[in-house]
């Protein structure tokens, strides 16, 4: 039904250079509905959409990684390096090096890659261990230095600087707010209270995770504040997650409604627009699903 509803005259049926075609419209509507049909129950439409998604995604990603991970950095790089004029250098890791050195380094990388793949032939062999060890070592070093700086040093600096209570120069005075300029969240008083809450929450949460010695009544009370802080944090994270998921749902609905445009009508501008066709499609889907058993779905 949806396909019928999309037989408009003004939009081309298929055009490589455009995404606004009947074919893309059909596919968008079909796959959106097929994925949402899982909310009712598992079914062949959902399975088709799932498999197509995984297949297309894998193909696209494989091509991208080949292009940017093998063709560019190894094949093209070596090709360019071999065709350089005498006394020309290649930049590698921020340093200008002789083309022979650059080619050598890339070849070493290619050999390490092949050693990693040798796991497919002989899983317990020694060859994959060397590149794996190198990768883990380099990754750990890169992560450790960067993360320590950004998530520890600079975060501590931000909190302990002036007791963590510094407010920006642009903060409004309370009297300015009372006079009607700006919002309460821009005032120095509001920001200061926020900073105090931050420091108390941070200390209480840290104390909650302190298991070095047995805690007395005082520390237990502080620990309770830490739990409340954590709960508020998890609540905020849950709220933001819901926000994101709803945004995605709205975008899908909006996308499907795009095909309610008169351009996509079957018979002129007012007849048989997409929403009725969509509703019919959903009803047919539900009827089909109600007749299906778990075995039927497994068979697909």
């Amino acid at each position: 039904m949806n396909m019928l509803a999309l037989q408009a005259a003004e939009v081309p049926f298929f055009d490589w250079t455009s995404t606004n075609t009947h074919l893309s419209g059909w596919l968008i509507c079909f796959f959106t509905l097929a994925i949402f049909s899982f909310l009712y129950k598992d079914n062949p439409f959902y399975k088709i959409a799932e498999h197509v998604f995984v297949g297309v995604g894998t193909a696209y990603f494989a091509l991208q990684y080949y292009n940017e991970g093998i063709r560019g950095p190894i094949v093209e790089h070596i090709d360019r390096a071999t065709n350089l004029a005498p006394n020309e250098f290649v930049t590698l890791g921020g340093v200008d090096v002789d083309p022979t050195v650059a080619i050598g380094v890339r070849l070493v990388a290619a050999v390490l890659g092949l050693m990693l793949l040798s796991r497919v032939i002989k899983p317990s062999g020694w060859a994959p261990r060397w590149p794996l060890a190198l990768m883990v070592g380099i990754y750990a070093a890169i992560k450790m230095t960067g993360e320590t700086q950004s998530k520890l040093v600079q975060q501590i600096q931000g909190v302990v600087k002036d007791g963590g209570l510094t407010v920006p120069d642009s903060a409004l005075a309370w009297s300015d707010f009372m006079a009607g300029s700006g919002s309460i969240t821009q005032t120095a008083a509001y920001l200061t209270v926020g900073k105090i809450v931050l420091v108390i929450g941070l200390l209480a949460t840290l104390i909650h995770f302190m298991f070095t010695f047995k805690r007395g009544a005082g520390l237990n009370a502080v620990s309770r504040v830490g739990i409340v802080t954590l709960m508020l944090t998890f609540g905020a994270m849950f709220g933001f997650t819901v926000l994101g998921r709803i945004a995605l749902l709205i975008e899908r609905v909006e996308n499907v409604f795009t095909f309610a445009d008169p351009n996509y009508a079957v018979l002129g501008e007012s007849a048989y627009l997409t929403p009725p066709a969509l509703i019919t499609a959903v009803i047919i889907l539900v009827l089909v699903l109600r007749k299906m058993t778990g075995k039927d779905v497994e068979a697909t």
Binding site: L39, G158, F240, V242
Partner: protein
Amino acid sequence: MKDFDRRWIFLAMGIVVVSLFTLEKPTEMPPSEYVQSYYDTIEALPEGSIVMLSADFDPASAAELLPTYQATIHHLLRRNIRVINVATWPAAPPYTRAGFDEIAPLYGKAYGTDWVELGFIPGDDVAMGSIGQSLRSAYATDDRDSTPIAELPLLDGIQDRMEGIEVLISMSAGYPGILEWIAQVGGRYEVPILTATTAVQTPDLFAYYPTQLSGFAGAATGATQYLQLVTVDMPVAVEGEPETLVDVKVNNQERMLIQAGAHMLILLLILVGNLLYFFTKGSR
């Protein structure tokens, strides 16, 4: 209530979203401090500055990030700021290509001098560290037509360790994204960083603002606020004309009401669920 079929909740959510969608009622959003800082940081850049714009998202998060991405391109090019595009997510480059091909001609910008497209780089954090250390080593050619980057005039003034780049902007949908840029580039080279993120990632960012992050537009709400700021001087959308940034803004503003309705439903369900729990507690 144990036998309650959760599909009724899905149906209720569908009805709320679809019915509010048909209202087409745009809702104005006052910009938050974080979004205002995002906007002001770009506004404060001198003309001709170079900005690195990293597309760290894919189609799954385009609903939240694409409007901000398009608005940022408009904002940067309108202010005559030059843009180096990179991507750490494999599915992001088509958005970069489409965005600049559509928007750059509106401001008379030319490829190679006003913007360049370096494309996807595999390697996550390691790749980001590599870009920060030396852009010329990380990329040998551009992504558009494999031009050696030494031949791209825009990159003439760019040195290693992010020298010459005034601001780094990440459209971040998760890992790798803004937190990795802050760790691998922000902390090491002290380049100001801006970001637009999905809602899921937004709570992580408050701790980084304003010391490690100069501003951010979080979720569809942040996107709407930023779109309002960028489109303030733009002509009103015309019915039947091709979609402009103003249309994108109106679309986003319409989504805010739907979002609010959906959130109200969720709150109601949480409330009902909790009340039922407490009322039936004694009977179990």
